[in-house]
Symmetry: C2
Subunit: 306 residues, 2 copies
Amino acid sequence: MYDIILKKREGLELTTEEIRFFIDGYTSGDIPDYQAAALLMAVYFRGLNDRETADLTMAMCDSGDRADLSVIPGLKVDKHSTGGVGDKTTLVLVPLVAAAGVPVAKMSGRGLGHTGGTVDKLEAIPGFRTVMEPAEFIEQVRRVGAAVVAQTGHLAPADKKLYALRDVTATVDSIPLIASSVMSKKIAAGADAIVLDVKVGSGAFMRDVEAAFNLARCMVEIGNRVGRRTMALITGMDQPLGYAVGNALEVLEAIGTLKGHGPADLLEVCLALGAIMLLLAGKAGSTAEGREMLTDLLRSGKALGW
Amino acid sequence: MYDIILKKREGLELTTEEIRFFIDGYTSGDIPDYQAAALLMAVYFRGLNDRETADLTMAMCDSGDRADLSVIPGLKVDKHSTGGVGDKTTLVLVPLVAAAGVPVAKMSGRGLGHTGGTVDKLEAIPGFRTVMEPAEFIEQVRRVGAAVVAQTGHLAPADKKLYALRDVTATVDSIPLIASSVMSKKIAAGADAIVLDVKVGSGAFMRDVEAAFNLARCMVEIGNRVGRRTMALITGMDQPLGYAVGNALEVLEAIGTLKGHGPADLLEVCLALGAIMLLLAGKAGSTAEGREMLTDLLRSGKALGW
């Protein structure tokens, strides 16, 4: 481990084996926190290239379980937002895309820092269950076409442990570390294709377009390297998305959007992301076609009715 | 501590209070190793300015005991070598300078890495005691004019703990961290003035003259900032000093040098360092005068006889 820290400190490229040695050893407890912390800070300054970042992602992904969605027919498309204020796109997109015939087996997170989380929002609906056993989760997707649940503890435990360390050692805001953290969980969650919504602006973790672009590029590169078709949109977060902020209020605004009277900015983000989801799932031949399908589903009330 | 790591990571200057908070907290165990490791790596990349380095030195110095040499009359001058191969200058210098009337109360170290240590060399003399209680140590200097002992465990414990962490996190070779580590122990050891022998070359920790100069400059700056007159020489270590390498052999070569037939390179280093010691102790008005005094003491046999 000493040699790995020294190598990265000197700006050299780590091999696949070295990255796996670090993640396996850190997850098992053989490598102590202080050596991991020194490596994280060296990575903060020296970065990781695309190959190293993809290797880190897969090593973290392989540290735990992987959801097996193969019993659900068709291409499964996941969507991830880097987090913002008033971001209720998942609440709109899941029924909308499911209504278009694309199965959605989605694991969502809770709020992080100042940003809201989909699981918190859903729990504003009395009686809504966000915790499900894997078998029940998959059965629901097969039966009704979609499910949104809280992430289970068995996905990418290495990422969980490493994130907790980054959080107390000022090594959170490194593009390759953020990208590998997000993608390790998305890949473990089992989707065939991934659509990323990278938020940029004063209400997002990425404050400027250049940083957001770098993060988006890094995550798309990881996905494509490991055989997941991945696309990203960079969307504005200089003001809240829509008008509603607060879990219950955001659920109401999402339902309003499905009824056809959503705020223009929210609607636009949902259509743009949804169109890519249909494209990647093979349901639409272009984003223009996907957009038209989604607009029809909203207009006809089928998205709400679903 | 998080804020301190972040501040240094961003290249900002740490305050005296922040540096003391870190050292006090780390020594007491309140600050965990992983946060210290992250800070050390950030320091490796961002550096410390002279004020921060002096503050770090004094915080580490204050973490333990300080030798009180005030009962020994006159200015006490210490000498420190950054370590090399065949470096037996201390064995020659201590009796030589003592013979000139400058009291030498010297704490020495053991070998580090590939370099030898004075304490190891002295222990090649059957019956030589290198461990002494502080009172006994000072009494010997008062009585016979000089003593060389192994460093006690109570000097700069913060440095000891931090050095052990640096050793396993690839953060040893940082100029301000090396400089503060050396100077915290030298200042705690109680001398009024310090002469530094910074070795440079293939057999030294500093491989090139620029790095050696930076280390020397950094240590002299610390000493002068905290009220210890400090001077440094940069001396070559591309080949061993003298001919003898090995503890017992080096003792014999040192005795030969005191008898007046030492190797030219060893003699030159001893005269150059010793002249500065006499200058700083106020025994000589210039290094030229000091050099002449030392040459006379060797020629007359008084250095050996002492």
